[in-house]
Symmetry: C3
Subunit: 315 residues, 3 copies
């Protein structure tokens, strides 16, 4: 590094330090540390190994040693979760009870114990999701293929874990978890949504399921479906308000459909056609189809197609 | 960890062990191991280093040592692939020939040798895809930029590898591969699809190409295009049935278009406009454009726009 | 490995070596090395740790040691960036000045110093994006949640870094960076686009922002929005031509909207409704809404829904 470059760096260091000190969002002066995203992802990976034994690790499992396998994983999950939940509670509540070490420890213990106890229930739900994916997709092959590969099952599994932590009012961690799944799959399920058993998302890229959605059992959703809010121009003033739709049991929603609004209810057994745009309730046992935009056909010689650079009617 | 927590964990261990024993999907009692997703991804990374020398590793390559580079990679790929294919065949066929060690070994050798032999052909195809991306995108810069960065080229490369394994009836591994690419790019190409040379997918997020698609040469597809089935409500009963469209040579399909059905054929040289929804065949040399939904324009003062929280006409 | 397999491999090695030698795109005979994608991603991760202290590393930061933290990161970023920029310039310019070691070194120093100096400005812009995300989303919780989890903030941050390198005419690296973000988030922002402060992308999967876009301040965009070109059938002939729209200050664009063309301007304060397809300019203070495609409703008994396999009107 030459002299100029060195001087440059030294000036920059103090400039950046000043910006840290002036922006309250930078936490350097906080006494508490922030939770660690990488360790939260490790927790998810261990939970996945626990929920699907034999699928996501290379150790050979046998009946006589399976309790050790489970025990090892549970202890590791418990330790990491305890650490991250404590950091999250401490940081989020620094201005109220975040410095009361005993209270924080007690709250952390309660959260972790309640969550750990819910693991068999989470597993039970996820097994129904695997079943739904297998039954719903002619290309599935077998249940193992679904567990190994289906992004919908991956995203729903992580949502189900995050949802339990969200119900326990754990800050940051649920959203870090669901956004991890969003990044891996293109499926964005807010941890606050409530979703029944046997949930299947096929392909899934572009799916958005908002924070206050309520979804029944045996619901099937395709890529690009939005279950959203009518408008969020209210911003923070809308926090906590019911903004997203209710989808009842047995509903199928085909790709690209958009269903909006906190008062919108899609009644049970209904089928929503691809690209439908719905802002009002639909009664039970209804098929909603879209009169798709009219197409225009024009015959062209290939030479023409190649010569034209800009069309007025095509992207 | 306190006493309560310990007791809690011990109860949980036996609860989870019981659920493993009751659900046949959990493979702990299988004598065979499952294939390992991480090692399958390593195979893909090494294949990529082999197909694009100099791009995805930091070793300096020279003409006189290039044979060693190729040899090292091929041996490593061969070893890993052999292990994973064997695990996959053993597990999938556990109830028929999965315990016949000699037969499994023979089948594994055959699959691996056939696949390895096809690598130069795979490379040749992928080089045409790189060419198509460069020629089709004004922002490409040069071929190197395309190889380094284009998600379409990444997804198509992995599809071309997975497709060869799929043709050899290898279980699990092809889908693990294509879903790895789907996760990285948002482009979901089923390994069963048949796709000709010079295939270009631009941007790509949200693209879905179904299992029984047949796609010709010089086809160009944009983000959000679905080549799908009319309905999959038949579920497993539809396995093996032709459900997805045929796209002939030289067709361009703009973003957001949906083309559905096993009998739907898009004739050569045709251009499908953005957001078109097509469930019937289109003759050759046709431009299909969409009469887009009518727009309503309303002038508003900025203050109004800020005061309103819920619109009846906007997401 | 058996004899057959060995022979097979040896033949393949020479076949692949021949294909390397015949295709100019394979860089094995180049004297220069290519830049390394992994190290470019490390640069991004360190820049992120610098821009958001305390969020993406587990070290505990204190006021008295913060200068060391900044210094360490800056030196590491500077060293890695210098190496990668030099490789990129050397390779790209191999046929003009790529072998003039002194000139390359000088150009590399200039690029690196200019970039490093711009870090505080990049940070300042990104802080406004965090603010916009927090204010625009009722589910945000707090600024920390936004920094930890929001894919829009992630993609925009990386775009802002890549854009500075793009302005300095650094080859390969800007696109490798934005495609890294695209892979992680489904948000595809070309490094060439110009984007003002307080930019917010919600959910984001499927967003495409083209190379020649110009976007003002306080703009808000939802998932699946395309700001694209009318046609790219001109391919390489269109390089450098203005092909993408202008979005003025304070515009909101709801999900799935498509805005195309280099002459299209969306005037300030306007609101574009979901799924709108726009190829012409919209004046300031306008709300554009879509007359959504008509829906058909049909009542069906659940048994019927289950018996039917193929619908004529549904995906």
């Amino acid at each position: 590094m030459n002299k100029d470059c060195e001087k440059n760096l030294i000036n920059l260091i103090s400039e950046i330090a000043t910006s840290y000190r002036q922006n309250t969002v930078f936490s350097v002066y906080e006494s508490a540390n922030l939770p660690n995203r990488s360790e939260i992802i490790e927790i998810l990976q261990e939970l996945r190994q626990l929920i699907f034994p034999g699928f996501f690790q290379s150790k050979r499992l046998t009946d006589s040693t399976i309790e050790y396998y489970i025990g090892d994983l549970l202890i590791s999950i418990q330790e990491k979760l305890h650490k991250q939940v404590k950091l999250a509670l401490q940081y989020k509540h620094k201005s109220d009870y975040g410095n009361d070490e005993e209270l924080i420890e007690e709250k952390t213990n309660k959260v972790c114990m309640t969550f750990i106890k819910s693991i068999p229930m989470i597993q039970e739900y996820i097994v129904t999701d695997v079943q739904a994916a297998y039954e719903g997709d002619p290309a599935a092959g077998d249940l193992e293929q679904v567990i190994f590969s289906y992004p919908g099952v991956f995203a729903i599994s992580i949502y189900r874990i995050a949802h339990e932590l969200d119900k326990l009012a754990v800050p940051y961690i649920p959203r870090i978890m669901t956004e991890y799944a969003h990044g891996k799959t293109g499926i964005d399920i807010n941890a606050g949504a409530e979703i029944g058993k046997y949930f299947f998302i096929d392909h899934g890229t572009g799916v958005v399921i908002g924070q206050t959605c309520v979804i029944g059992e045996y619901v099937k959703i395709y890529q690009g479906v939005t279950l959203g809010a009518l408008s969020t121009r209210g911003g923070q003033a809308l926090e906590g308000v019911r903004r997203h739709p209710t989808i009842e049991d047995n509903v199928t929603i085909y790709s690209g459909a958009t269903i909006l609004g906190g008062e919108t209810i899609i009644g049970k057994n209904s089928v929503i056609g691809g690209n439908a745009f719905i802002t009002q309730s639909v009664p039970a046992d209804t098929r909603v189809s879209v009169k798709n935009p009219e197409l225009k056909f024009r015959n062209s010689k290939p030479e023409e197609l190649k010569q034209e650079f800009i069309f007025d009617w095509v992207i």
